[in-house]
C-alpha cells in the first residue's frame, strides 16, 4: 500500500514537472507546447549519453543536461515560436507538434531504436522504512520535485525577474509599456520550461527506459494532468499530476495494468464533461 502510494507519487511528480513546463508556457504565450514530452526525452538521452558514453559523473551529467536543455529552450522558441508569434494559436501549436515529431525521429536516428537503461545515482537500492522497502529513486523524484516547486514559487513571487515574467504572461502590451523586454521574458519562460523538462527526464530515466517513444505518452499524460488540475493553474498542474500518477498506479495494481493508461484518459473525459475547469481550477477571475 505505502509502496504503491510512493511510486504513484513519484510518477505523479514527473507528470507534475512536465505539466508545469506546459502550463508556464501556456500562461506566458497562450500556446500549448506539444513537444514538452519530447523535451523530457531529450534531457534523459543527453544525460544518459554523458554518463554511459562519455563516463562523466552522474550528477555532472544531470547538470550539463539541464544547461544544454536551457540552450535548447532558447533555440526552440527562436525557431518554433518567435517567427510565428503573431499567427493564430493553432499555427504555433502545429509548429510544436512538428518539433515533437522531429525530435522523436532524430532521437531514433542518433540513439537507435533500442531503449537504453540508465540507472540513477542510487542504482537499484531500496530504502527500508519500518516493514516496507521503497525504491530510493522514487524518494529522490519526490524530494527534487518538491524542491523545484518551492523554488519556482519563490522565484516567481519574490524575484524581480520572476515578477517581470508574470507581468509579461498576464499582459504583454502593458508589460512593454512598463519597459519590460517582453521577448526576453518569453525566451526565459521557454528556457525555464525546457530546464524543467530536463529535470523530469533525468529523474524519470531510471524508472522508465530511455527511448525515442518515452516522450509522447508522457507529454499527453502531463497535458491531461494539467487539464484535470485546471488548465493554466500552477497548483492545478502539480496536484493534477500527482493525482494522475497515484490513480494510475492503483488502477494498475487493483484493476488491470493493461488498462492503466485508459484510466487516466477516462478520468480526463469525466473531468472535461462534469468539471471543465478542473479539480483545482481557479474560478474565472476577470472583472471588467
Amino acid at each position: 500500500m505505502i509502496q504503491l502510494l510512493i511510486s504513484g507519487l513519484a510518477m505523479g511528480s514527473i507528470y507534475a514537472l512536465v505539466a508545469l513546463g506546459i502550463v508556464v508556457i501556456a500562461n506566458a504565450v497562450n500556446v500549448v507546447n506539444f513537444a514538452q514530452g519530447e523535451n523530457v526525452m531529450l534531457g534523459a538521452y543527453v544525460a544518459a549519453t554523458l554518463t554511459l558514453t562519455l563516463h562523466l559523473p552522474i550528477l555532472a551529467a544531470y547538470a550539463i543536461s539541464i544547461i544544454l536543455l536551457a540552450l535548447y529552450g532558447y533555440i526552440f522558441q527562436k525557431v518554433a515560436y518567435y517567427p510565428l508569434r503573431k499567427k493564430p494559436f493553432i499555427t504555433v501549436v502545429v509548429a510544436t507538434i512538428g518539433v515533437s515529431m522531429f525530435l522523436k525521429n532524430a532521437a531514433r536516428i542518433v540513439w537507435g531504436p533500442q531503449p537504453i537503461y540508465f540507472a540513477g545515482p542510487f542504482g537499484e537500492s531500496m530504502i527500508r522504512v519500518g516493514g516496507v522497502s521503497i525504491n530510493a529513486q522514487n524518494i529522490l523524484i519526490i524530494v527534487v520535485t518538491l524542491a523545484l516547486v518551492v523554488f519556482q514559487h519563490f522565484f516567481f513571487a519574490k524575484t524581480s525577474l520572476g515578477r517581470q515574467m508574470q507581468a509579461t504572461a498576464q499582459d504583454q502590451e502593458a508589460a512593454t509599456l512598463m519597459g519590460i523586454k517582453v521577448s526576453r521574458m518569453i525566451a526565459f519562460t521557454f528556457i525555464y520550461s525546457s530546464m524543467l523538462a530536463a529535470a523530469a527526464g533525468v529523474l524519470l530515466a531510471p524508472i522508465f527506459y530511455v527511448s525515442a517513444d518515452m516522450g509522447a505518452n508522457l507529454g499527453l499524460k502531463a497535458f491531461a494532468a494539467s487539464i484535470i488540475g485546471g488548465f493554466g493553474s500552477v497548483p492545478g498542474a502539480i496536484l493534477g499530476g500527482l493525482f494522475l500518477g497515484v490513480l494510475e498506479i492503483f488502477a494498475a495494481a487493483y484493476v488491470s495494468s493493461l488498462y492503466k493508461d485508459a484510466f487516466a484518459f477516462i478520468v480526463l473525459i469525466l473531468i472535461l464533461a462534469f468539471m471543465p475547469r478542473g479539480l483545482f481550477g481557479e474560478k474565472i477571475s476577470t472583472k471588467v
Binding site: S160, L177, M178, G179, I180, K181, S285
Partner: protein
C-alpha cells in the same frame, strides 16, 4: 517636449491616421478629444511606440523617437496609461506599482519615496496594497494604472480615457488627482471622450475626426466653440 509631425498609420489597408500633427509643451495638459473611432487611441499608441508609423515623425525631448521600441521609451520619461487600464490582474497592487518602476530601477533600489507619493494621491491603493489587482473596482484599477505609470517617474504622461466606465464622482476624483500630478511637474497628453471634463482641466486641446485633426485652440476657446459644443459637449 513632444512634437508629432504628419504621422500616418494604417490598419491593413485602412488609414487610421491622416497626417496628424500636434505638440505638447513642458508643463502643459493637452487634450485630444473626438468621437469613438476617430483615432485618439491610435495617436497615443503611435507616440508610445506600440503602433508602427507609415509616415511622419515623432520627437520627444528633442530626439527623434519614431522608431524607438516602446519598452525603451519609458526609460526616456514617457509613460502611457493605456485604454482599459490594463493592470496586471494576478499581481497585487504593490507588485503592480513595483513593476511600474522597472524602467529605471536597479536591483533593489528603494521605492518608498515614490510609493508614498502615490499612496498620498490615491489613499485607496495603500489600503488595498496586498490585494490582487483583478479584485479592485474599476475606479481603483484606474487609480492603480495611473499610479503604476507614475512609478516610472515620467516627464510626459499619456492618458487614454481615464474616465471610461467610472461613476461621475470617481471621474471628478481622478481628474482632481491629474491636476495635482500636473502641479508636480508632469506634462500630460489626455485622450478623452468626456470632452467637458477634459477641457476643464486642460490648457489646450485638439479635436480629431476620422483620423484628422480638425481644430486646435486653447481649452477655454474650444469650450466656447459652437461646433465643439454641439458635437462633444451636448449642445
Amino acid at each position: 517636449m513632444l512634437k508629432v509631425s504628419n504621422i500616418e498609420v494604417y490598419y491593413g489597408k485602412i488609414r487610421a491616421l491622416n497626417s496628424v500633427s500636434l505638440s505638447v509643451k513642458q508643463g502643459e495638459i493637452v487634450t485630444l478629444i473626438g468621437a469613438n473611432g476617430a483615432g485618439k487611441t491610435t495617436v497615443l499608441r503611435s507616440i508610445s511606440g506600440l503602433q508602427r508609423l507609415e509616415k511622419g515623425k515623432i520627437e520627444f525631448l528633442g530626439k527623434d523617437v519614431s522608431i524607438v521600441p516602446a519598452e525603451n521609451l519609458v526609460g526616456m520619461g514617457l509613460a502611457h496609461v493605456p485604454e482599459g487600464r490594463r493592470v496586471f490582474p494576478g499581481l497585487t497592487v504593490y507588485e503592480n506599482l513595483e513593476i511600474g518602476a522597472t524602467s529605471w530601477r536597479k536591483g533593489k533600489a528603494c521605492l518608498s519615496g515614490d510609493l508614498e507619493n502615490i499612496y498620498e494621491l490615491f489613499p485607496r491603493l495603500k489600503e488595498r496594497s496586498k490585494q490582487l489587482a483583478w479584485s479592485l473596482s474599476g475606479g481603483e484599477q484606474q487609480m492603480l494604472a495611473i499610479g503604476r505609470a507614475l512609478m516610472a517617474r515620467p516627464k510626459l504622461l499619456l492618458l487614454d480615457e481615464p474616465s471610461l466606465g467610472l461613476s461621475p464622482v470617481l471621474v471628478e476624483q481622478v481628474f482632481e488627482v491629474l491636476h495635482k500630478i500636473n502641479g508636480q511637474g508632469v506634462t500630460m497628453l489626455l485622450v478623452e471622450q468626456n470632452a467637458f471634463m477634459a477641457l476643464d482641466i486642460a490648457h489646450r486641446g485638439y479635436v480629431i475626426e476620422n483620423g484628422r485633426i480638425v481644430l486646435t485652440d486653447t481649452a477655454s476657446a474650444l469650450s466656447n466653440d459652437s461646433k465643439v459644443k454641439e458635437a462633444y459637449l451636448g449642445g
